[in-house]
């Protein structure tokens, strides 16, 4: 038996060994399968990363241009500038004392502050400095300091400084556009990055570029803004705010035939080159465009829209006459004429000339709430965004038809109890000046797309929105507005030799518990020249101190702006 066992022993050992080998072979096979098939991509990537580089080639952000009427040149409002960042990897720096000293000497920085940042053994710390010039970057590279690196950074530069800052917006440190055109067209301006794939040596130097995809530079934009008009409008509103002791003010100049913005100025502005500093020194609110992002109660300028609705719906005619008392009582509320006097018998033109609150409520009541609402909301578009290509537009506020009480409708008829942006107001006047046709206001008139070395220029055509009133009504209301300037409270808006159509408004400002005492917003909106309007101009002054009436403040500013435009565009007088 023991002999037999002794004889079986080698066979058992061989069998056992065979099984062990089979098991080992299976394990090896599984592992091999795992590495070469299941984790193939991972290992392949690891192997490639040791000798291959994939480097992103960033696209250049598109530029923003403006033009000038008397020049074929375009001018850069926003462009790009390559500057350099200084970065450090503390754990790679051998002589930290020397590195800090040399950098401090070159960049006029505090040596100890630099030493404090690089004294650790971190693999990453935030860049030591940004916006270095090419000369500074070269000088640092020549020092050949181990662990100190220079990398290019693209910065946005605004050559015109604070000119049209609310229209342009700014680009933040992440490269994202904010506010204005930069915000609205951020995607188009950004473009698409490219990349190249190369093999590298042990020192990380490129040996061979195996593939390359070119970046697609961002789209360039040409604005309808005329920089000379914008500059004049900005200067004028700043001077006017001082002259009339106002808290603020805005001017918009629009082409009523295309709804292109020619100028959009505010007395307050900011330098987009130093937006972070501006936000600290002023408030973040400074970036919002007061012409498109902030709504106010426009006051009597909206009487034009009520009258246009009344005429267009057939509720009244220009010749309709009525005797008007000093006030009207609606739902227990007394609404007075602005001078608290009875205006007596007036026709509809005179209602506008004397800016008669009671007279315009008469028109609104003849229209009925539903028709009145239809004209304000669905035709002139109050309470909804105009669709302008600028970031952060406000829709304003118009109460719904269901919620609109009779007294609210009466107030809205003369521009109180409704909030609108200056842009909405100017667009509604532009529709009157454009034979009743409303287009979408816009600021970009041309898009230049880069396709490799080629450029493709696309014009932006005005986008028709709706027919607000008939051409006949538009013509009648324009004539009535001319009479306002000739015989009514818009006389200060006159420009000798030219026909002007317009309307002033002195609006009360709502506050807690009712309207604020002695605080008003003055505005004047007009078409010039009246017979074939080339511009619609809005002037708005917030809380002027020198006069309680817009007919002595905003109206005069309008006249100055219109005079400048007639000379600038060389429009000869016609009367």
């Amino acid at each position: 038996m023991s002999e037999l066992n002794n004889n079986d022993y080698p066979e058992k050992r061989i069998t056992s060994l065979f099984f062990i080998l089979v098991v080992v072979a299976i394990v090896v096979f599984i592992r091999l399968f795992q590495i070469s098939v299941l984790e193939n991509k991972n290992y392949l990537a690891q192997a490639e990363s040791q000798h291959k580089i994939i480097e992103e080639v960033p696209a250049h952000r598109g530029k923003i241009f403006t033009s000038s009427y008397n020049s074929s040149d375009t001018y850069e409002l926003a462009t790009n500038l390559t500057l350099y960042a200084l970065t450090a990897v503390p754990k790679q720096i051998q002589d930290k004392e020397r590195a800090a000293e040399e950098i401090a000497k070159l960049l006029f920085l505090d040596k100890n502050a630099i030493l404090e940042k690089i004294k650790g053994t971190d693999a990453y710390i935030p860049p030591l400095a940004h916006k270095l010039s090419l000369e500074q970057a070269d000088a640092i590279e020549k020092l050949d300091l181990k662990g100190i690196y220079i990398s290019p950074e693209e910065w946005r530069y605004y050559p015109e400084g604070d000119l049209a800052a609310h229209i342009i917006g700014y680009v933040d440190t992440e490269g994202k556009g904010n506010y204005g055109v930069e915000g609205y067209y951020n995607q188009e301006l950004s473009g698409d990055s490219g990349a190249f794939f190369a093999e590298k040596d042990v020192k990380g130097r490129y040996i061979q570029i195996s593939a390359k995809s070119d970046p697609q530079d961002g789209t360039d934009l040409v604005l309808s803004l005329d920089r000379s008009v914008e500059h004049y409008a900005e200067d004028l509103i700043k001077e006017s705010v001082k002259k009339y002791g106002a808290k603020g003010g805005q001017i918009i100049v629009m082409d009523p035939s295309t709804f292109e913005i020619i100028a959009m100025a505010s007395d307050k502005s900011f330098d987009p080159n130093n937006y972070a500093q501006e936000a600290q020194e002023k408030t973040v609110d400074i970036f919002a465009n007061p012409n498109t992002a902030k709504a106010y109660e426009p006051g009597s300028v909206l009487k034009v829209m009520t009258m246009a609705g009344g005429l267009d719906s057939g509720s009244v005619t220009a010749a309709t006459e009525e005797t008007f008392p000093a006030f009207i009582e609606i739902q227990g509320h007394k609404i007075w004429t602005w001078d608290k006097k009875a205006h007596g018998k007036e026709n509809m033109t005179q209602v506008l000339e004397t800016s008669n609150n009671v007279g315009i409520i008469f028109v609104q009541q003849r229209m009925g709430k539903s028709t009145f609402y239809d004209y304000f909301r669905d035709r002139f578009g109050f309470g909804e965004k105009t669709g302008i290509d600028l970031d952060s537009e406000s829709a304003g506020k118009l109460v719904s038809l269901k919620q609109m009480q009779d007294v609210e409708a009466a107030n809205i008829a003369f521009g109180q109890g409704i909030a609108a942006t200056p842009l909405q107001v100017v667009a509604s006047f532009a529709a009157i000046g454009n034979q009743g046709k409303m287009f979408e206001p816009h600021i970009v008139k041309e898009i230049i797309e880069h396709k490799g070395d080629k450029k493709e220029i696309k014009d932006i055509k005005p986008k028709f929105v709706r027919q607000v009133v008939s051409p006949e009504t538009a013509e009648i209301i324009k004539t009535m507005m001319e009479d306002v300037v000739l015989y009514g409270y818009g006389k200060e808006a006159q420009v000798p030799g030219y026909r002007i159509a317009g309307k002033s408004g002195t609006a009360q400002i709502p506050g807690p518990g009712g309207y604020l005492e002695d605080k008003t917003i003055h505005s004047f909106v007009g078409l010039a020249p009246a017979e074939d309007p080339k511009f619609v101009i809005l002037v708005k002054l917030d809380e002027p101190a020198t006069s309680p009436w817009a007919s002595y403040t905003a109206t005069s500013v309008f006249s100055e702006m219109a005079s400048y435009l007639f000379k600038y565009y060389q429009i000869p007088p016609n009367k």
Partner: protein, 111 residues
Amino acid sequence: MGRFFTLTNAKKNFNGLERRRTINLKSGAGPTSLKFLTIAVLAVLSLLYLVQANRSATKGYSLKALEEERTKIEAQNERLEVEAARQKSISEIENKTKDLQMVPVDKVEYE
């Protein structure tokens, strides 16, 4: 296998039969020579590959240097363009018109 390779010249006679004739030439290349020959060819090919790879790497370095040079020139160009834009800005022009004592148009006469 014989000591030497034998070179023959085959040709058909008039009866269609093949006649094989030994050419009286004998090659002096033996197995050792062949080994040397093979090694030499491989060495030359390796050398050629190395030269080519080296050339490619050198071109890669030159390309990288040229790319860096181009980037610098582009940056300089960009800086000049930005400076030109700043000089053309309306505030700069306004300052210059003041220096030149220019005044705005007061009255325009149309014919």
